[in-house]
Every structure is written in structure tokens, then in C-alpha cells.
Amino acid sequence: MRLDLGVPLGGVTLATIAAAVLPFVSNDYIVGIGFTLSTWIALTEAWLLISGMAGYVSLGHVAFVGIGAYVAALSWQLLPVWLILLAAGAAAGTLALLVGYPCLRVRGPYFVILTFGLSELLKFIVVNIEAALSVSGRVLFGAPDLHDLFYMMLSLAWASLCVALIIRRSRFGAGLRAIRENEEAAETIGIAAPWFKLTAFALSAIIPGMVGALITMRTSYFDPLDSFSPRTSLLIITMAVIGGSDKPLGPLLGVGFLVLLQELLWANLPQLYMIIVGLLLIAVVVWVPDGIFGGLQRLLARSA
């Protein structure tokens, strides 16, 4: 294995193993934070495939989380947990393949708005289906305990990071970056842009689908308005951008920073937390376009 890929992969795997001892050495509160951190790592790294690498900024990734959550709620106690996770991932991937083909033909602001519109459309379709079945919220009885869920989410975060690292250094990843920089030029040198984009979109949907299933098991409750909340899509982008959305390790910083800030402030000063998030977002986009990660790299390069 090449060194430039082996070192980050090994580092990520070691960090994951280190995180796996968390339930033995700390209390449920800390494990809960670990669960949240893993959730957002899994989501932002998956989002990165289509939006960071290929430059198609998705403002609708919550659609995949929501569909995974819905699959979990529908199949709860009918299927074993591992099969529910697979089904949730498969459902999200299928959804991405279905909507990806027409959607990935539109670019720039149109794609951003379109993905947002699709996720909202899907939300209201599920709301209406549930209303037609006269179900208001589904409770999941006997969900796995926090420790098991933490291990599953941690594995998803690990998998998501590894996929991002591997793809970034592959020919496929190079093709995606070529599409981001100039799609016409990429096509003239023989990159099959539609297939590259569709594959990246489907890959970036599978893990969020599984994450959605796990989140629903954690809350033991499914409500389409929560599971499809546009806040999730916006938070994914915010975390990725604050950290630096060009490299797979960038979003880690954004996720870590925002999740910890949230733990500190959300309970007592939720409004202050949101104001700080807003200010940070503006500051990073305007003054540090490559995010905390890129900014740190430049600082280190300058002092070295």
C-alpha cells in the first residue's frame, strides 16, 4: 500500500480503536458525545464525496438520513438490526441513483436549490403518507443500548473517513476533482462525467442512510419533521466548510469544534451557540476560504 494513503488510513484506524475504549473508561454522557461526534463525522465525510470533491454542493443530504430513518422505523422488529442498517443504506443509495441522473445535469446554484427542494419534497411526501396511515410518530421499542449504537456509529464514521481518503487518492477521485475544476475540459480528456457524478452521489448517500437508521434507534422515535429537518443539511455544510472541505481531514476539525461548542452552550445558551456558529461561518468563508485545516496548514508552512 502506498505510504501517502497508508499513513492516514492507519492513523484513522488507530484513532477509531482508541475511541472504542470510551465506554469502558467513561460514563454515558461522554459516550453520548462520542456518538454525536461519530454521527457528524460519518455525515460530513460522506457529503464530501459529491460536494467537496466533485463540487456539486448538496443542500439536501438530510433526504438520505431521513429515508434511512424511515426504513428503520418501518422495518423495526421485523428485521434484525444489521439487516435494517443494510436496508437503510440500500434505500438511500437507490434514492440517490434515481434522483441523481436528472439532478446532476444541473449545476451551480441550481443544483444547490434543487437538492434542497427535493429533500423538502420528500419530507412532505413522508408526512402525507404517515397522515394517510393516521400514524403520528413511530416509537421504536427495545432499541439497542447506547454502547452498541456507539460502536455501530463509530464504525460508520471510520468507514466514511476511509472511503473519503481512498477515493481522494484514487483515479476516480482525480476524475471528480477534474469535474469540479472544469467539467467540459474533464469530458474532453475522456472522463465519463455523468457516471463519475452519479457514482459519487450514490456513494455519498449510503452511509447517511445508515446513520439515519442509527439516529432513529438512539432517539427510539421517528418523526418525519425531525428526521428530514433542513437544519441537518445546513449543519453538514457548516461543519465541512468551517473545518475545510477540500481535504478529508478538514471536516474533522469542524465537527469536533462545533459539537464541543454545542455541548458547552446548547443546554444553557442555545441562542448564543447559534450566533457564534453564524459568526464563525461568515468569518471562515470570507477570510479563511480553505477552512481551519487549510489555515493551520498555511500557518505551519509559514513558521517552518
Partner: protein, 292 residues
């Protein structure tokens, strides 16, 4: 077709047109996706609310104050963030995504500062609610006022963009930025004026909305979404298209809900929105050229 429904559609449509026009102006001239547009509407609504509750000022008199305040906030944003950012290559290269994030930050800040100052409670005031009947329909006076004001501002802006030098300059800038600069249009000043008009219109729309609906710090987001639907219908950057798009959405929403039921409102609106984006991304009324 009932006259009552038609009036309701016109009222909703004229508000949508007003909100979308401002949003489209800012997108058209500077390529900025202003997802904080609804928050400026919310600020306008709070100006009217405090005006009538603290100083017994009629919302009609509060409207100019709301326009000035939101336009001033727009100027502040322009000078503090966008004037500099527009000269940075990294920002301009992905201007749509970057501006979306900046305005998302602005929107979160405005919502939460308002919630800290005035609490997140729903608020409302009663204003001119007596019913007037005519032609088989009956409407409260406040809604008639909304229709007259929003409608005349929309008509005035049609004339402004078709006749006045400034309106033509803005349209020229939207169509061909470089060419507009070459023929001597002062880009920076026209950008700034578009910011003022765009945000000011959001503030005015907020005053009008507060006359008939309850307000809260988080009321803006649905208006932002609706405004985006409207400018997609009318065409991104097509200023007059957003007026027609607003009216069309008002008709679609009002009659659609009347015939199917309120549960289907969002599905219908987003369905039309997605269909237009996929089939005719340049908008329903634009020329056959898609801007990407």
C-alpha cells in the same frame, strides 16, 4: 372560479412577488444567494409590531422606517463583507456556495439575536380587521391594504425597470456584467443600490405580512423558501419574471389548496419547483438560454 379565491390568490401572490423581486435583484446583479432574505422580512415585521405597540404608529407609517432600516442593514453587509469578498478570487470562484454560507450565517445571527432581544414567542397585533363586502367576496380592510400596497409597488417596479435610467442600468448589469462596465455603468454603485432596493423590499413585505399574520424570530425561513421557488419559476436573474412567478405561485397555492386540501400545499409547491428546475431551469418566462 370564485372571486373570493381569486382575491386571496392575488394577495398571496403580490407578497410573494415583492419578496422574490428583492431576492432576484441581489442574485441577478451580484450572483449572491441570499438565504437571509426572510430574516430581513422578519425585521420589517418587528419594526411594525413595536411601532404600533410602543408608539401607536400605524404600520403604514412604520413602513418607510422598516424600509430604511433593512436597506441600511443591507448597506452595512455590503461594506463589511461583500465589497471586499467580491474582490477575492477564492470567494468569487464559488460565489454561489460561498454567499449561501455567508447569508446562512447572517440568517442564524439575525434569528437568534431577535430571539434573545424579544423572546421566541409568537406576537401579533390587531389592525383594521373589519370586513368589507363587494362583488360577492368579503375581505378585511388590512388585506385590501396589503393588496393595494404590494400591487402598486410591483407595478411601480415594472415601470422603474422599463423606463428609468437606473432600472435599465440594473438590467444591463444583470444581463452582461463586463459589457455593462465597458459602456460606463458604475458597477459598484449599482450593486449597492440593488442591495438597498432588495433588502428594503423585504422590509416592506415584512410590515405587510405583520398586518395580517403573527410574527416570530423564525418566521422568515418559509418566506425565503417561497421566494426561491418564485424566482426559479420566473427565472434566476429575470426581474420581471419573478413578479409573474409570484402571482403564479399565489394562484397555484390558493386554488390548489382549495381543491385538494392544506396537507398537499407543500408537495404541490415543491413538485412544481422541481419540475421547473429540471425541465426549464431558465424559468418559465425567460428566453431559451439556461444560465449555469
Amino acid at each position: 372560479m370564485s372571486f373570493q379565491l381569486l382575491l386571496a390568490a392575488l394577495i398571496a401572490g403580490s407578497i410573494y412577488a415583492l419578496v422574490a423581486l428583492g431576492l432576484n435583484l441581489i442574485y441577478g446583479t451580484m450572483r449572491l444567494l441570499n438565504v437571509a432574505h426572510g430574516e430581513f422580512l422578519m425585521i420589517g415585521a418587528y419594526v411594525a409590531y413595536w411601532g404600533i405597540n410602543l408608539w401607536k404608529i400605524s404600520p403604514l407609517l412604520a413602513a418607510p422606517a422598516a424600509i430604511v432600516l433593512t436597506a441600511a442593514l443591507g448597506v452595512l453587509l455590503y461594506y463589511s463583507i461583500f465589497r471586499r469578498a467580491m474582490t477575492s478570487r477564492a470567494f468569487v470562484e464559488r460565489i454561489e456556495a460561498n454567499s449561501l454560507l455567508v447569508f446562512f450565517g447572517v440568517s442564524v445571527i439575525l434569528q437568534n439575536v431577535t430571539a434573545l432581544l424579544f423572546t421566541a414567542d409568537l406576537r401579533g397585533y390587531r389592525y383594521e380587521e373589519e370586513l368589507i363586502s363587494f362583488g360577492g367576496a368579503s375581505l378585511p380592510v388590512n388585506k385590501i391594504m396589503v393588496l393595494i400596497i404590494a400591487g402598486s409597488v410591483c407595478i411601480a417596479s415594472v415601470i422603474f425597470f422599463a423606463r428609468s435610467t437606473l432600472g435599465l442600468a440594473i438590467k444591463a448589469l444583470i444581463q452582461q456584467r463586463e459589457a455593462a462596465a465597458i459602456v460606463g455603468i458604475p458597477i459598484a454603485r449599482v450593486n449597492l443600490i440593488s442591495f438597498c432596493i432588495g433588502f428594503g423590499m423585504a422590509g416592506l413585505a415584512g410590515v405587510l405580512v405583520s398586518m395580517t399574520e403573527q410574527i416570530s424570530p423564525f418566521m422568515g425561513f418559509p418566506f425565503t423558501v417561497t421566494a426561491f421557488v418564485v424566482i426559479i419559476l420566473g427565472g434566476l436573474g429575470n426581474v420581471l419574471g419573478s413578479l409573474l412567478g409570484g402571482l403564479l405561485l399565489g394562484v397555484l397555492e390558493t386554488f390548489g389548496v382549495a381543491f385538494t386540501g392544506p396537507g398537499y400545499r407543500s408537495i404541490m409547491i415543491y413538485g412544481v419547483f422541481i419540475a421547473v428546475l429540471l425541465l426549464r431551469p431558465q424559468g418559465l418566462f425567460g428566453p431559451g438560454r439556461a444560465r449555469t
